[in-house]
Amino acid sequence: MRCARAIIIAVLLLIAAAIGASCLSAAEIPQGERRSGYDFMTPDTQAIQNDDTANPGMLWVLDGEALWKSKTGAAAKACADCHEDARASMKGVAARYPAFDKTLGRPINLEQRINMCRVQHQQTTALPYESRDLLALTAFVAQQSRGVAIVAGADPQLEPFVAKGRELFMQRQGQLNLGCANCHDDNWDKRLAGSAITQGHPTGYPLYRLEWQSLGSLQRRMRACMTGVRARAYDYGAPGLVELELYLMSRAQGMPMDSPAVRP
């Protein structure tokens, strides 16, 4: 009798454990199971990224290096005049963006930071989003953080903005009524048509997508996802998009940067 009761309790416990496990699978990805988009690629595509003379992203990095040293604007200053050697001064910078800006009281991403420098210190115009020059400068700065672990979102001032980004990540939207989490948390081990879904860790931006035949920013990628679920995409630089960018980076905390990455 006592033995039978013990068995029933054991079975109930097993069922509870099974339910618990299935709930977990539909939640956030455990730290140990996080994988960069790189790990989802074929060896052929990985080979393009691994070789700096085959990685087309390096073309932008080279352009960015030239821009870094060229004087521009009314102030006739180059980035290098203040920041000197990017290899030292920009190491790890991309790994902590989007970062909190005190004057604006909200987070800004790397592109916005570069444009702020252009307007305030070089006294010239901001570069348009996704323009060759802005991508080049961003890629050059981001390349200096290769191998550096992502720390973005650690600043306590950013807490409410990370939370807002997370909310947007979970929020279902568009005609297909899908949130980011429905694919990138719940179904990252499956495929959408022929393509890997991936976990959506932004380790390598700006990156070269073979589909784009160009370098592109994380915001371009996120806007493409929004259009994909038939939602209205945020404008480039919109605070909501920066918050989502911030949440994605904070979700990837500790993962090494690999900009400029190559993705299919």
């Binding site: 085959a54 060759r132 080049a136």
Partner: protein, 106 residues
Amino acid sequence: MASALINVPKKAKRGEIIEIKTLMSHIMETGYRRTATGEIVPRDIITSFVCRYNGVEIFRADLFPAIAANPFMTFFTVATESGKFDFEWIGDRGFSETASASISVE
């Protein structure tokens, strides 16, 4: 700001087969796409690529609209003597770029 990335081994043994890799920055616009208002985007591609080894042509390729942006070309040759590889890309709208790399053969 077109630029090329070239990968040629700095040193090689005489008679060794070496791999040469080149990447050229170019949009490779096919000429078949249309703008939102229906006008054709004019073709703008690289049409030919040549590699010369100490002045002698060792590799030539014709490029066509189906080739992706930023063409990556890789090929092999035999390292015969020390000297220079000259690369030349020619394309639509007067596109013309050159690059070079040297090799020492022992």
